[in-house]
């Protein structure tokens, strides 16, 4: 299933240009005001492949902030759907792992057809991370900086060339017909890859073992007062939820076109940090206390995810660390819990 190849850097843009003939090519680009975002690539040389790991996020392409589910009118309903084929270039290992978690969640007994449709049409070319941010901690979770499996294609930067690892049928599809630019790796290539991985591992500033944290919670060593302390710093901005590549909650809203009987049923991102999230009709508020809500977010990621799928609901991308105004992000809280007796 897996196979390794080598691609000269001189041939990368040729390859991407060929792929773009079949699909929309998405990559990390610098926007006019300097932010780096994933968007459709016009000029392949504009791709900022070495941007900090956790700046852009692919979540939007699989689980959009606003997704039109059904258009309704007195004549009936219509499902718009999304059949656009996409190649997303430049996501990092942590996000590849996050996509894996999303696949588990949206699959299963009840398969989410909107997600699966997008997922089916999305191909990833990921980068074995060589530029972890100071907020990154994937290394303690095994979700990065480089992956052994779970990717379509994983690139490792070896200076003048890339190690190209093919990890799925979709990956094979992307290299098919390009024998003239790929070659088999030699021992020197593997040596360089090993070096690249070693140097990447040494760049991490945070070492967090969520397993220790989980054991501490399960052993009952974390009192509710701890979560109240965490919650007292929560601004309820929802940034952690919206930025998290694993958070999947949504709200469904019917939008009516004026007063008419036609409109759109859409789903939009929602966040469990908001008190209205669990509110029932008739003004019943089950989780009115902020402490209950922050605790639920952490418990979901640290306890229930492992219980249900054997993996943490966190990939250590560090985005919540960057976004949280109250500094109660996963890394900080986990660190405090790890040190706590």
């Amino acid at each position: 299933m897996k196979s390794d190849l080598v691609l000269s850097k001189a041939h990368l843009s040729y390859w991407l240009r060929q792929l773009r003939k079949e699909a929309d090519l998405i990559g990390p680009l610098r926007s006019t005001d300097g932010d780096i975002v994933f968007s459709s690539v016009e000029n392949i040389h504009d791709i900022v492949a070495d941007c900090p790991a956790n700046l852009p996020c692919q979540k939007e392409f699989l689980f959009p902030q606003k997704e039109e589910m059904y258009k309704f009118s007195p004549k009936g309903t219509e499902r718009p759907g999304n059949h656009k084929k996409r190649v997303i270039f430049g996501i990092r290992s942590c996000d590849v792992s996050a996509v894996g978690l999303m696949d588990t969640f949206y699959g299963g007994q009840y398969e989410d057809d909107f997600y699966m449709e997008r997922r089916k049409n999305t191909f990833f070319i990921s980068i074995a991370c060589n530029r972890p941010d100071s907020s990154c901690f994937c290394i303690g979770l095994g979700t990065g900086p480089f992956l052994k499996e779970g990717f379509d294609i994983q690139l490792t930067d070896l200076g003048d060339r890339h190690m190209v690892q093919v990890g799925s049928a979709k990956g094979r599809q992307m290299i098919k017909g390009f024998d003239h630019i790929f070659r088999r790796p030699k021992k020197a290539d593997y040596d360089d890859q090993y070096e690249a991985n070693l140097s990447s591992q040494s760049k991490f500033e945070k070492r967090i073992t969520l397993d220790n944290v989980r054991r501490k919670i399960l052993a009952g060593k974390v009192p509710d007062s701890f979560w109240e302390g965490v919650a007292s710093r929560c601004f309820q901005c929802g940034g952690c939820v919206y930025q998290c590549p694993v958070c999947t909650c949504f709200n469904v809203v019917d939008w009516k076109d004026g007063g008419a009987e036609k409109g759109i049923r859409m789903r939009i991102w929602d966040g469990c940090m908001f008190k209205g999230f669990t509110k029932m009709a008739g003004n019943v508020w089950p989780a009115e206390q902020i402490a209950a809500r922050t605790k639920r977010w952490y418990f979901h990621k640290l306890l229930y995810w492992p219980e249900q799928s054997g993996k943490f609901g966190c990939v250590g991308c560090g985005r919540c660390t960057i976004t949280c105004p109250g500094k109660i992000d996963m890394a900080t809280v986990a660190n405090r819990l790890e040190k706590k007796d």
């Binding site: 006019t32 005001d33 300097g34 007292s232 710093r233 601004f235 309820q236 901005c237 709200n251 809203v253 939009i268 929602d270 908001f274 008190k275 209205g276 509110k279 003004n283 105004p325 109250g326 500094k327």
Partner: protein, 569 residues
């Protein structure tokens, strides 16, 4: 703004946001910072994490107050007394920076006389804050060098709003906590670009950059640039305009991006004034309560559909760029205005936002070097007098904008309306995190709307017990002007005697009952204090619709469930 201008010569945050985290003392008066300025509160928490002392003066127990080392819960409307009490201690204990006072300020002697009378004990009687707390805060604030003072609407929205601001200015001058990094006086401006609107002269008495209309030199400059004679008298404030509309003197109004029907005090008077107008134009992005009364509505574009700049609370002018095409024929505000002007016979001839900025820079000394091409990365902080100037991160270095800083002697005067037997509660109004102003925008977002679906009154458990209500009960809030019905929310966030109602809700518009009293100088309404009474609403017996289950035979069936012993088994 008027208060700060009279003391320092300009009105804006004197420090930068990035300085907050390094402050040693942070004194927050009348600002619900975590909810209303979360990004500033983030830096405040950072400072506290680094060991800074946080002092909060607010009658309500807000989230930021929970982090305070000292929380002063003064009675609403007694800020002057509180600040005078603090300054009295500073003077009495020899904590005044006398060198600064001599070199940089004037009128200290007059000021001292007034403050001398307000001992901590006197202040305690007025404010309800313990004298020992006042003393402690005075010592902490005065002895630490990197002290930052913050205030917001809790200071300004009073009849004594300007006095409150001047007292804050007195305090920072007394201790020389101004004109250095991490030391200054910082009004937190609420809405996006409200600072920019003031900077650009959207006030009745100034041109852009706070150049006085009454100043002949400034007027001449604008007259020559615009090639038209300009009036020498300042214009009317919003409150004055509605008053003269009500009197029939003002005939037409053109309202841009405001919803006074919801946001101004004493709603029924505003509506009455608007109905008296011959002609009303409203320019807005959505249909608002005010727009519903308009003769003509001009559709404007949203922030995402236009180019231009926004100026934030730390005086930073930042560029905004059009991200989406304007919809449904809406136009940017500048374009609507220049088109209108053309029709009225004056060709402005702007083609893009940066051309207007160029003119603003030319005519506005503090914006002299602020041009679109210089704003690409993180913008520039005014004052920025010329094209090479890097911008100013903290103000009033070496000298105040107006030369010497002026001490204003301020005596405490009680709020316009005080409580009595008929109206025993002080009502203070304010904002909620999940709602923005009059909800013309956020009310269209399902998730935001869900968070705070209905209006409520925050009331202390003791008061609630006294009038016999529980959380969730309906209560009628009655003032001398009107009444609204809201749900009670019993919490110790508000102290005894004070109740809080957010003003965002159309169904229970609190401004139907707020006081129309305004500050005599700044004309800011007293949203923070008015006297009201709360009356529990008991559903009348006939209010619930009768239904067929109340008929005799229905009851009989239910009663018979027991009375039929011969149940077959």
């Amino acid at each position: 703004m008027a208060g700060l201008a009279s003391a320092f010569g300009s009105g804006a945050m004197t420090n930068s946001i990035s300085e907050i985290a390094d402050a040693r003392v942070i004194f927050v008066v009348g600002s619900n910072t975590t909810e209303q300025h979360p990004m500033i509160a983030m830096h405040m928490l950072e400072a506290v994490d680094r060991g800074a002392t946080l002092i909060v003066a607010d009658p309500r127990k807000t989230q930021i107050a929970a982090f305070a080392h000292t929380h002063l819960r003064q009675r609403s409307g007694t800020d002057v007394a509180l600040l005078n009490g603090i300054m009295n201690v500073i003077i009495g204990e020899g904590l005044v920076d006398i060198n600064f006072v001599r070199r940089r300020t004037e009128n200290f002697d007059e000021f001292e006389k007034v403050v001398k009378r307000c001992t901590p004990e006197v202040a305690e009687k007025i404010t309800g804050v313990a004298a020992s707390d006042i003393q402690r805060v005075a010592r902490i604030y005065a002895t630490e060098k990197r002290s930052m003072l913050f205030y917001s609407m809790g200071i300004t929205q009073h009849v004594t709003g300007v006095d409150n601001v001047r007292s804050c200015a007195n305090l920072v001058m007394l201790t020389a906590h101004i004109g250095q990094p991490m030391t200054g006086l910082n009004p937190l401006r609420g809405q996006n670009n409200v600072q920019g609107a003031c900077d650009m002269g959207a006030l009745p008495d100034v041109y852009s950059g706070y150049q006085k209309v009454a100043d002949a030199g400034a007027r001449k400059k604008f007259e020559s640039a615009w090639r038209r004679k300009l009036p020498s008298a300042p214009g009317m404030t919003m409150i004055d305009m509605f008053d003269s509309a009500r009197e029939g003197k003002l005939k037409a109004m053109y309202i841009v991006g405001e919803n006074p029907v919801m946001s101004d005090p004493d709603t029924s008077h505003v509506v009455e004034a608007i109905r008296k107008l011959d002609f009303l134009v409203v320019q807005d992005i959505f249909m608002s309560e005010t727009a519903e009364l308009a003769d003509v509505i001009l559709p404007a574009v949203t922030f995402a559909e236009k180019d231009g700049t926004f100026t934030n609370t730390e005086r930073r002018v930042q560029k905004v760029r059009r991200a989406v095409r304007p919809m449904y024929g809406a136009m940017p505000d500048w374009k609507i205005i220049s088109e209108l002007s053309k029709k009225m016979g004056y060709e402005m001839g702007y083609r893009a936002a940066h051309e207007i900025m160029e003119e603003a820079a030319l005519l506005t000394p503090v914006y002299g070097g602020i041009l679109h091409h210089r704003l690409d990365a993180f913008g520039l902080q005014w004052p920025c007098p010329d094209a090479d100037h890097p911008g100013t991160s903290f103000m009033h270095r070496k000298k105040f904008a107006k030369g010497l800083g002026t001490f204003n002697p301020i005596e405490f005067t009680p709020p316009e309306e005080t409580t009595d037997m008929a109206y025993p509660f002080i009502l203070t109004t304010g904002r909620l995190y999940f709602r923005y102003h009059t909800a013309t925008m956020c009310g269209r977002t399902a998730t935001l709307e869900r968070e705070e679906p209905e209006c409520f009154v925050e009331i202390n458990p003791k008061d609630a017990g006294r009038i016999g209500i529980r959380s969730g009960n309906s209560v009628k809030a009655v003032s001398r002007r009107g009444e609204i019905v809201v749900k009670a929310f019993v919490t110790d966030r508000t102290p005894e005697g004070i109740v809080f109602i957010p003003f965002h809700f159309r169904e229970a518009a609190v401004n139907l009952i707020t006081s129309p009293a305004v500050d005599p100088v700044a004309k800011i309404p007293e949203f923070k204090v008015c006297a009201i009474n709360l009356v529990p609403v008991i559903p009348k017996p006939g209010e619930r619709p009768k239904n067929h289950y109340n008929r005799k035979e229905d009851l009989k069936i239910l009663n018979e469930l027991y009375e039929e012993p011969e149940v077959p088994s």
